[in-house]
């Protein structure tokens, strides 16, 4: 039920074999006894009437949602037979597995694909990897951790530290920093809770973060606010950046971002002049067509101002720990150039694959290949814990692809939005019904206990992949189906079995020390995960001017690419569509397209909403709470207007992921897509993809009127 930052320690209260309560585990260094509202609503999730308890086989037409119950063994036999048949007929690459958010079972999906011979892990194209890629090939590391604890200036930029990993320490550290006097600046179009607590809110127009970053570079370069020594010693191509950024003046950015020139200049000066200043760059940088530009611009900004790997800045050195490495179940050592060549729709260019998580095709492009046949059609898709009709762009096109797809398997703990198109539906166990895997969070390791019995003929995600592999003849690579052996393999470096780990009820906390900072010769020579193992940074320096990108045919310096529709780039649309629309991906009670059927959570946010400035609403005769139609050049949806004084008056903001009803509260679902924000966005191949990292935009122009 969590997003990718799962892994909190939880005490489950069980009475008569039933889960009746949840408490945070104080012994867990991950969440220190605290939890989020989703966890407290676990009982309603576990016992939801929507739980899937038996495998299902489709009997009606695709999309009708008529199924018959079959057994686990029958279902797995059917999948194995079909996948083997497709492999023989079309080659192993005809199978794609669509990625859920990063999960503890993600590497099992990679392992299965590698053994099968397919490179097509269908990664979202809208989360994390986009940022990681730009950072890695600019700074030599895919991650830069903001050092809140020592910062004097904290910039939260298109991130939401409140609704992601709420109890896991970063938010607490940010609040503590603020209390001791650090300045908090939050850059985002609406005043979410982090912006409400900030010293300065920078209400930027959606999708224009890259323009702001370029203008900040302009100020830093022209006012010579950079760290000359660091630039000389550790940056490659700074002299090319100087003429490049001249056109990106604060005045230029002001019209694009909708911010006062003084605010842009002031922010650049304050950041450059505060030695202990850090940036938390968030998901806004992944869901924009300018993604790779924006990420590179911010990375260069961090570097040339001397904020990399210094106290209070962005830390790239790893903290040494006494904890041994958990052995990965991924089989990345088996990747070949041939597999990379066979990617159906590479998420990042082939010459940069595999990347940190493995090889990947973009989620949307896997589906699109079914319709275009280019370069070949995907024939079989398994969707574990992911809902393609809800959570990627172009839902109508996705449905077309699912109608045409040869073989589609959906796996979930409960009925989901993609199910009606599935040939087979595989129910899986929740974490409360499993004694595996084990939790690994930072330097904490804990065995998970099964606290309630399973309620039907289903197993865990992990067991599914092992069971299927055995049936496919891949058993030798999957511990011959033994989950115990699989777990013990992963703990190989710890000198203990899972059963032995279980004798530490709240797990083991290993010691870690703060990292020693500033060993740039080592940091900037880090090897990339490409087959060649070549370093990320060919010059051993920050790639201000990026020769790797130039060699692959991309711009060596970060430029600017506007959203497909925006006030500055498509003013001709403004008479009909005068407002900017964007959405959030996660809220305080939901993540992505999940959890709308959990009554305690749905009661907090019962209806699809759109935040609108009261002046903007009144000008349209819209009252607080009215149902409205939101229409873009690409589609229309409905939502309830919420008067929101803390949003740009030229912008409205919704929430992704509405489709599910909540029977207990008598609240409707919107399975017809009538509240799916993805219907509003462009999927134009020429405009809606970042050419380097496939990032797909979530910005467009709309009009809002009473329903």
């Amino acid at each position: 039920m969590c997003g990718p930052t799962a892994g909190c320690g939880i005490y489950a209260r069980v009475r008569d074999g039933k889960l009746v309560g949840i408490e945070g585990m104080p012994e867990s260094p991950r969440n220190k006894g605290k939890l989020c509202p989703r966890a407290f609503a676990s009982m309603q999730w576990l016992y939801s009437p929507d739980r899937l308890k038996y495998p299902l086989r489709r009997v009606g037409k695709k999309g009708d949602g008529e199924f018959e119950r079959i057994s686990w063994d029958e279902a797995l036999d059917l999948i194995a037979a079909r996948l083997l048949e497709q492999k023989q007929q079309y080659g192993p690459e005809s199978l794609a597995i669509l990625s859920p958010a990063r999960r503890s079972y993600s590497d099992y999906l990679y392992r299965f694909l590698v053994v099968h011979g397919s490179p097509n892990y269908g990664h979202s194209g809208i989360c994390a990897i986009q940022r990681a890629f730009g950072l890695a090939y600019t700074l030599g590391t895919p991650r830069t951790a903001p050092d809140y604890a020592r910062a004097e200036l904290i910039i939260v930029w298109g991130a939401n530290p409140v609704y992601s990993g709420t109890p896991q320490g970063a938010l607490q550290s940010m609040l503590d920093a603020r209390e001791r006097g650090a300045r908090l600046v939050v850059i985002k179009p609406e005043m979410q809770p982090d912006a409400a607590l900030a010293d300065e809110w920078v209400p930027i127009r959606p999708g224009t973060d890259g323009a702001l970053a370029l203008a900040m570079l302009n100020v830093v370069v022209n006012e010579k606010l950079y760290d000359g020594e660091f630039v000389d010693r550790w940056c490659y191509g700074f002299d090319r950046l100087v003429p490049h950024v001249q056109r990106y003046t604060p005045e230029w950015a002001s019209t694009i971002c909708g911010l006062p020139v003084e605010q842009i200049v002031g922010l650049a000066r304050r950041y450059a002049r505060t030695p202990a200043a850090c940036i938390n760059m968030g998901n806004a940088f992944d869901q924009v067509v300018d993604s790779s530009n924006a990420v590179r611009s911010v990375a260069i900004l961090m570097a040339i101002t001397g904020h990399l790997d210094v106290p209070g800045g962005n830390i790239i050195s790893a903290a040494p720990s006494t904890m041994p490495a958990v052995k990965s179940v991924h089989l990345r050592e088996r990747y070949t150039q041939e597999m990379v060549d066979r990617l159906v729709g590479p998420e990042i260019p082939r010459c940069f694959q595999p990347f940190i998580e493995g090889t990947s095709s973009a989620y949307y492009r896997c589906l699109d290949s079914v319709l275009t046949g280019k370069p070949y059609p995907i024939r079989g898709i398994i969707a574990p814990g992911t809902q393609p009709t809800v959570i990627t762009r172009g839902p109508r096109r996705v449905v077309e692809a699912l109608e045409k797809l040869d073989f589609f398997v959906v796996m979930d703990v409960m009925q989901n939005a993609a199910m009606p198109w599935a040939d087979l539906v595989i129910p899986v166990a929740t974490m409360y019904e499993c004694d595996h895997p084990f939790e690994v969070a930072g330097n904490w390791l804990m065995a998970r206990n099964q606290v309630v019995e399973r309620m039907g003929d289903y197993r865990s995600d992990y067991e599914f992949w092992l069971d299927l592999a055995v049936r496919m003849g891949y058993g030798a690579d999957f511990w011959n189906g033994s989950i115990e052996a699989c777990m013990d393999y992963q703990l190989g470096n710890f000198g203990m079995t899972l059963a032995e780990l279980r004798s530490h009820p709240t797990g083991i906390v290993y010691e870690s020390r703060p990292p020693e900072l500033g060993d740039f010769a080592r940091l900037f020579s880090a090897r990339s995960p490409r087959l060649s193992g070549a370093p990320y940074l060919p010059q051993g320096k920050v790639a201000v001017y990026n020769t790797s990108f130039a060699a692959a045919g991309f711009s060596p310096l970060p430029g600017w690419a506007p959203p497909p529709e925006s006030p500055a780039s498509t003013p001709e649309l403004l008479p009909k569509y005068p407002l900017v629309f964007t959405d959030a991906h996660t809220s305080e009670v939901y993540n992505a397209g999940w959890l709308r059927n959990v009554p305690y959570l749905r009661a907090v946010q019962p209806d699809p909403w759109v935040h609108i400035h009261p002046d903007t609403a009144r000008a349209r005769g819209v009252d607080d709470g009215d149902w409205v139609i939101i229409e873009s050049p690409h589609g229309r949806i409905q939502a309830r207007a919420v008067y929101f004084p803390g949003i740009r008056p030229d912008t409205v903001m919704g929430l992704q992921g509405w489709w599910q009803g909540c029977a207990e509260l008598g609240l409707a679902g919107y399975a017809d897509g009538s509240a799916n924000t993805n219907n509003l966005y462009s999927v134009d191949p020429a405009k809606a993809f970042d050419p380097l990292v496939t990032a797909m935009p979530k910005q467009t122009l709309v009009e809002v009127r009473r329903a």
Binding site: F40, L171, A196, R602, A603
Partner: protein, 182 residues
């Protein structure tokens, strides 16, 4: 003030509207989703872009002189002598809603059976579920002496009011008339 009176401290400088306190309360008491013995409300002031947004987590404040108790015609509401917790006897409550009218914070809630329900400071638990759940320590519980000490350190003070609410507040000031449920 009742000796040993228990209550809450709320720091508006740390509340992030995560709703953990609300749902932890509902789950701990097995409430229906529509019943909220604790709720976080927001207060907007100013005009874009000079706008402020502040969150307040509100529940029964176990007043020293509970207006609800005075208003109740059937004697269903009482104040415990050992800890000052204001409790309702469901057997005596007639669902007349006089308590709701009397409460400055509109705290009393009425379920399908018409009986009033509200925060009982989790008398059956070691500590109130809401404060135990709060991931930012914006909401804390304890005796008034403990909370007074903490409030002093954090620059806060006891909420004013003739009814004597058992609440200390820190952080951005919220107009007292806005500290109530919608």
């Amino acid at each position: 003030m009742t000796k040993g009176q228990r209550g809450f401290l709320f720091d508006a400088g740390r509340c992030v509207l995560c709703h953990a306190c609300e749902v932890a309360c509902q789950a701990a008491h097995g409430l229906s989703p529509q019943m909220q013995w604790r709720k976080v409300v927001e207060v907007w002031e100013g005009h874009f872009p000079a706008v402020t947004r502040t969150f307040v987590s509100i529940s029964c404040l176990h007043c020293a002189h509970p207006p609800c108790q005075r208003a109740c015609p059937s004697g269903a509401i009482s104040k415990r002598t050992e800890n000052g917790v204001v409790v309702v006897d469901g057997q005596l409550c007639t669902g007349c809603r006089e308590c709701y009218e009397a409460c400055p914070r509109r705290v009393p809630q009425f379920g399908a059976d018409g009986v009033m329900g509200k925060c009982d400071l989790c008398l059956d638990r070691a500590a109130p579920a809401c404060a135990a759940a709060c991931p930012t320590a914006a909401l804390r519980s304890g005796t008034m002496a403990e909370l007074a000490d903490l409030a002093r350190k954090r620059g806060g003070k006891r909420l004013a009011g003739a009814e004597g609410p058992a609440l200390f507040v820190c952080g951005p000031q919220i107009p007292v008339e806005l500290m109530r449920l919608p």
